[in-house]
């Protein structure tokens, strides 16, 4: 009996073992670019750390990575006997293709982006994590499919701005999550300006239609861009946006109670 290479991608098993000590995997999605997924992911990881949780942030936006920049991470990750050790910044273990590419463009055709994602997941030694936050790329291609199939218990939050363009794409993502049996933690409105229209339409209607919680409506906050410029997660966590995110995710974070430490293999 002969097994050929198509059945033998050993990285799949490596990824399962890498994530065996991670309690929750949370995908931060939107489908559309520019709605603030990366900033939400980074701030959420920082908030989770401040709540006493062990947290990792995986930048799955291979073409346009920004997590390393948001945390001020640079340089190749250290290599340990157990694999690549993600740098810890602001208490968060951060892994991104940009730690390798260092700002170079990443023009990938075909399966290239997915290959990089699989390689990073297979090689990264996260240790024990309460939560791995995954900053998802825009679009609903290979990377989304790979990550929603990563584990049976993968969860997702869908971030959207209140406008029709953002919510129409978020609608598609919610449909895909529902069809794929992925637990949707809820919808998170972002860059909401406070008008009655912003508050009553968009994210709220999406949450109602898909019968998932509306986690919150994060305000449009000028101070976020200043904090991002600093490349320092602490500055981001001091913004009104981050305080609102903390409130929006408080129930989810409380549910992520840490159990007894487990040995890492």
């Amino acid at each position: 009996m002969t097994e050929s290479e198509s059945n033998l991608d050993f990285r799949r098993g490596m990824i399962d073992r890498r994530l065996a000590h991670t309690r929750r995997v949370l995908l931060v999605m939107s489908g559309k670019g520019g709605v603030g997924k990366s900033v939400v992911s980074a701030a959420l990881a920082g908030i989770a750390d401040a709540s006493g949780l062990e947290v990792g942030l995986m930048d799955a936006d291979i073409y346009g990575p920004s997590s390393a920049l948001l945390f001020g991470a640079r340089g190749l990750p250290a290599e340990g006997e157990s694999g690549l050790v993600p740098p810890i910044l602001g208490g968060v273990k951060v892994m991104s293709v940009d730690l390798f590419a260092s700002g170079r463009p990443i023009p990938l055709a075909g399966s290239g982006a997915n290959e990089i994602l699989l390689e990073l997941l297979a090689l990264t030694y996260w240790g024990n994590l309460d939560c791995l936050v995954v900053d998802m790329p825009p679009a609903t291609g290979d990377i989304m499919l790979t990550l929603t199939l990563l584990r049976k218990d993968v969860e997702a939050i869908v971030v959207t701005m209140p406008d029709r363009l953002s919510t129409s794409v978020a609608h598609r993502v919610l449909e895909l999550l529902k069809g794929g049996g992925v637990t949707t933690v809820g919808v998170l409105g972002n860059m909401v300006r406070g008008s009655a229209k912003d508050k009553e339409t968009g994210p709220k209607k999406l949450a109602e239609e898909f019968r998932v919680p509306l986690l919150g409506l994060l305000p449009f906050d000028d101070s976020v861009s200043n904090a991002v410029e600093k490349g320092n997660i602490d500055a981001l966590l001091r913004t009104r946006f981050a305080r609102s995110l903390q409130k929006s995710m408080s129930v989810y974070l409380r549910g992520m109670r840490r159990g007894a430490p487990r040995a890492v293999g």
């Binding site: 290479e5 991608d9 050993f10 073992r17 390798f100 463009p105 023009p107 055709a109 290959e115 090689l123």
Partner: protein, 134 residues
Amino acid sequence: MHELSLVQGIISAVGETASEKGGRVRSVKIGVGELAQFDIRLVRGLLNDLKKGTSLEGARITVEPEKSKVKCLSCGRIWNFQELAGPISSDEREMMHFLPELLNSCSRCPNCSKSYFEIEEGRSVRIIEMVLDD
């Protein structure tokens, strides 16, 4: 030394497949792609050390180098790592050592100078084939 993790991953995958199919491992063929620039002797040595007490002990293990094959999606030229249009730095070699696809970030097609190409073969270490006794 992430080669160690990869070799452990290979040994686990072979063991899991053998146990799933219910057969003994007769042989395994491993390819070492040139883009990741692994030392093939190191891969052989790790396999030799780590196979003890696993389903690979007693199996015939072949480790062979694999040349890269890169297809330019602009002009159609098929080329390999040895034909790069320009030199690449030690930093660039190091990033490719971990993520071979980042060849796209540091090189261009030697024929048309576009950076729109796809790696078809020779990226990193892989299991080419394993044979189980029926």
